[in-house]
């Protein structure tokens, strides 16, 4: 298990390293951070352009810039925190890492909420559908999941939002919050990890819209996994021994049927991230998506590169965790 963990860890780090090189080269080659400056009227003097280029390290060779960027990102000078995660400064000379951290906190809130909702739905509906295959409940759940699977992300979010607005109008009061992460002027949460009731209320609609769409695929998968397990020989043996059907399903069936969902969750984390970007836009959340849009518009090399690295780390860490959890839950995987 230790060897397996180390091997997966090393390969994940290598993947991130290669990705960082490609991402930085792409961002450096395609963006011109001086564009906002150049497009000013009256035009800036050549000296100030040169100074700005120097400040943005544009006068150095691109490999040197990559090396410096990488060095600051994973810098180690013995002081806490050991990983510096310094992505450089954006075009407005603000630290990318700090702003990204604030945005990531907003987006993560939506993603975690959506994951929790989707897992509950997937396990409950998937297991019931699988156990009662081809019965009425399964038929209804199948129709609903197929419709959810076919919904464009932002269209569904916008439909929910319209629905909530109509309810608000009929009720004459604010039942659902349809925009923003918190009310204007609301007191901020007491610490980074706590969350206020106001923020929770604002989370409902985005979480439901992202969570339902995510759940659709997971429910199908969980259902297939349950059907697979129920059809297996050890289940038949347990039933043949005379164990009650309910007990067989709980003891032998569910334990094995829930494992594969871990992998699907890890694979889908990228899609969730993408979905969150769009859902944010519909519900006016100032999260990662908005930051990326601004960064691309500003042709901001360091902001875009930092953004992509954060999302890549997010995806890689989730995949790593999923692989390790899977290896713990299912010992067969370690032998291969």
């Amino acid at each position: 298990m230790l060897i397996y963990t180390v091997r997966r860890l090393v390969s994940s780090l290598l993947v991130l390293l290669v990705a960082s090189f490609i991402v930085f080269m792409f961002a450096a080659a395609s963006y011109d951070p001086l564009k906002p400056l150049r497009s000013r009227n009256p035009p800036p003097t050549p000296q100030s352009l040169k100074l700005a280029a120097h400040q943005a390290h544009l006068d150095q060779p691109v490999l040197t810039r990559y090396w410096n960027w990488l060095r600051h990102m994973i810098g180690w000078d013995g002081s806490f925190p050991f990983l510096k995660l310094n992505f450089g400064n954006d075009v407005h000379n603000a630290p990318v890492a700090h702003n990204l951290g604030l945005r990531l906190e907003v987006t993560t809130r939506m993603i975690i909420g959506a994951i929790i909702l989707a897992v509950i739905l997937a396990v409950v509906l998937g297991v019931i559908s699988g156990v009662r295959k081809d019965k009425a409940f399964d038929a209804v759940a199948t129709v609903v999941t197929f419709i959810l699977l076919a919904l464009p992300t932002f269209w569904f979010a916008a439909v929910l939002k319209q629905f909530a607005i109509n309810i608000n109008q009929h009720a004459g009061s604010l039942v659902f919050y349809t925009a923003g992460t918190q009310s204007f002027g609301a007191p901020p949460p007491s610490s980074f990890f706590s969350i206020t009731g106001d923020q929770l209320q604002h989370m409902i609609l985005p979480t439901v819209s992202l969570g339902l769409l995510t759940a659709s695929g997971w429910i199908r998968y969980q259902r297939a996994s349950v059907i697979d397990v129920l059809d297996s020989d050890y289940m038949r043996l347990a039933r043949a021994k005379g164990v009650r059907n309910r007990t067989v399903i709980r003891r032998h069936g569910l334990r094995n049927a829930l494992i594969p969902l871990v992998t699907v969750m890890a694979i889908d984390i990228g899609a969730l991230f993408g979905g969150a970007i769009i859902t944010e836009q519909v519900y006016d959340w100032h999260g990662m998506g908005e930051y990326l849009n601004t960064a691309i518009f500003n042709e901001d090399t360091y902001a875009v590169a930092g953004w992509v690295m954060v999302s890549a780390v997010f995806v890689v860490v989730f995949n790593l965790l999923a692989d390790l959890i899977y290896a713990v839950l299912d010992p067969r995987i370690r032998l291969s």
């Binding site: 076919a150 269209w155 059907i227 990228g270 691309i296 992509v308």
Partner: protein, 320 residues
Amino acid sequence: MTSQQDSLQTALPPSASGEQPGEFAGASESQGKQAFKRFVRSPIPMVATVFFVLVVLTAFIAPYFYRWKFNRIDARKDAHGHYIALSLHPGQKGHPLGTDGTGFDLLAQMMRGTQRDVIIVVLATVIALIIGITIGALAGYFGTFMDNLLMRIVDVMLCVPVLVILIIVASNYPGLGAVGLGLLLGLFGWMGLSRLVRAQFLALREREFVEAAHAMGASNFRIIFRHLIPNALSTILVFSTLFAAVSIIAETSLTYLGYGVHPPDTSLGLLISKGVDAAQTRPWLFYYPGILILLLVLAVNLIGEGIRNAFDPRHNRVRD
């Protein structure tokens, strides 16, 4: 298929092709033909197929006979002799689905949008299939070094969310349009398929019929194309339909974020992106194109499910 392969296939024990003996009358038929017959006999996928074909045919043929063009504004003289663009409810003044705020006919735009989406999806799927099968086949068939190299490339590409890659690349080419978008979706959509094909090839290349083909002197190229890919057909077909469905949704997402199809051209994604702002005042602009996308994607997914069941009848068997 050649007679050589036919004889090889029939020489296989029935269990090797994943089917039970005696379940089918025409046991000498190829797996593909049997699957096709099962597909045609299943009602829901056939309804979905007919619906999909009808919508696509309508989108491509009906514009020639329809009085409004997608890029023509319906502007008429008002009482003072000024031309004003008409913003109409569904059914008013010969516009069955109404017009948008500028005076474009919604039905004409929806047909144009469907055309563009079909082009995007077909392009994307074909490109993803070509790259995905090639990479997966090379990795799975030749193994070791090639496998390691290609799969690490896939790992790297998968470590950034696909939508983010698409956004960043698409934002570099502002005038992308439908064809460019299709290319892009295909170029960054093959990774899942290559993994699936690789896994299948790794299993298939150890089988007796591949060994037999080797012994008869068949080249690697021939073995891959004549023996392995036909056996991975169900995986490839199911992936194609799922990918087509995902591509339609990805097109709407990219267009919504402003990186896809731009006016004066239109796509279903652009229609609902514009419709979002009018959801309160002109709801038909928002709901009709959205429901069309929903039905199209639903149909494609149902077709995929039908193909999957047709190739794997055990999947459908009622549990005892």
